[in-house]
Symmetry: C2
Subunit: 226 residues, 2 copies
DNA sequence: GACATTATGGCAGTCGCTGACATTCGGCAA
DNA sequence: TTGCCGAATGTCAGCGACTGCCATAATGTC
């Protein structure tokens, strides 16, 4: 049924997996790719799940076995990226201060995204398109924000563990995680808005993030007027 | 929060309004009230729009003329409250520092909510129930977060105007608004979680907000370890 | 009281999503 | 190879959210 385009079979890890697992992975990837393509061309709201499923030659029912809902197929790549960020954060040396570790981790994530050569989903340009799609689609933005909120809890837990604090008692981990999330979101927004700032590769995004982080202190410090 | 709609019929301003307007307002209020009641009893997901409409004796079609979607009827009270907060913020003296003004405005909002005696929608206990409902319902949480994000843009604009800055250039207003939003959300979360902290009236909420605001500086300041 | 305006109801239809059941396919052993 | 088991998929029926369309009823105006 799925005589797919994806080159997932070249992935060395897949040689170990059975045919069944490989096939599942391929159809999942194909669904994500087809969905993104259709969303970008026709818009999220004007693309039906049936169309996505048909593009991969799969029944609608099967689509909903891979993704809980229509939003998830759009946010799947984003979710992977966030998972990667979490890993980066966990690997940060324990002596780093919390905010420093998070800044370093997110920079690292974007840089590694830039090192992937192929232009498929997961490239920097694809990331930009995805962020623009999310920001311009109320439903997607809502789902994305909810997912972000969930992720901030994970981050808070990691921070608390790093510093040996009880996240239920100490408000600081959750606060810092939430502030971090806010900064990242505003950076995404800036990046998608200032179309001029798009350098190739991840450098544009990293620069935007740095600018926002650098303004965080000034923003919170009392008066803004000289 | 909002000087409520519940007493809309006794509101002197309504005497001027025609019968048509008064009637519309009444059915709208009835829909909100019925929806909240049903949501709290049966849960959001197990309450159908048909049931809400039937409870007020209107057709489903009419429901969707008052509210864009099912989420909006749940978040309507919240939206009013946020509008009231915006007014409070606008009325703050210009010499106050931005963060100070926002803290004062939100405290003021909650205090005015506490001054409303009746137990209808808009009371403090109703606010708590609503926040719990939102936090425990993924769909509602998503919609609420999106609405919050939109509101942060308004706040940023107000801050920029107060300080005479260009919100397109200066990142600080948007950053501070986003941080403020994050603090408020975490406070709501704390409040709904620690059921113990619920004093009658708005004091419990205000105290929770103060605790979070007070920890904001420590959370952002470098190392947490003594 | 006649007329324009506006709110409402009813209906048909689309789309997202789910449960139930039958069918097919991959993995594994005889 | 053969045959079996369990997993993946397809099909179908159905619910609920939401919308467009047109008819009808209520309201405001002259």
């Amino acid at each position: 049924m799925a005589a797919q385009l994806a080159e997932a079979t070249t992935d060395p890890a897949c040689r170990v997996l059975g045919l069944r697992e490989r096939k599942k992975r391929r159809t999942r990837d194909s669904l994500v790719e087809a969905a993104h393509r259709l969303f970008l061309v026709h818009g999220y709201g004007r693309t039906t799940v049936d169309e996505i499923a048909a593009a991969v030659d799969v029944s609608q029912r099967t689509f909903f076995r891979y993704f809980e809902n229509k939003e998830q197929v759009a946010l799947a790549v984003m979710a992977d990226a966030e998972g990667f960020f979490i890993e980066c954060l966990r690997r940060r040396p324990a002596e780093e201060e919390p905010l420093t570790a998070m800044r370093a981790a997110i920079t690292e994530s974007w840089r590694s995204l830039g090192s992937v050569e192929h232009a498929g989903p997961g490239s920097v340009t694809a990331a930009l398109e995805l962020l623009e799609l999310i920001e311009s689609t109320p439903t997607l933005l809502a789902a994305h924000l909810r997912h972000t909120a969930e992720q901030e809890r994970q981050i808070a837990a990691i921070l608390a563990e790093r510093e040996g604090l009880d996240p239920a008692t100490d408000l600081r981990p959750r606060l810092l995680a939430a502030v971090f999330g806010a900064v990242v979101r505003l950076s995404h927004l800036s990046w998608t808005t200032d179309a001029a700032a798009h350098q190739v590769g991840p450098d544009g995004m990293i620069a935007t993030l740095e600018r926002h982080f650098d303004q965080l202190g000034p923003a919170l410090s009392g008066s803004w007027r000289p």
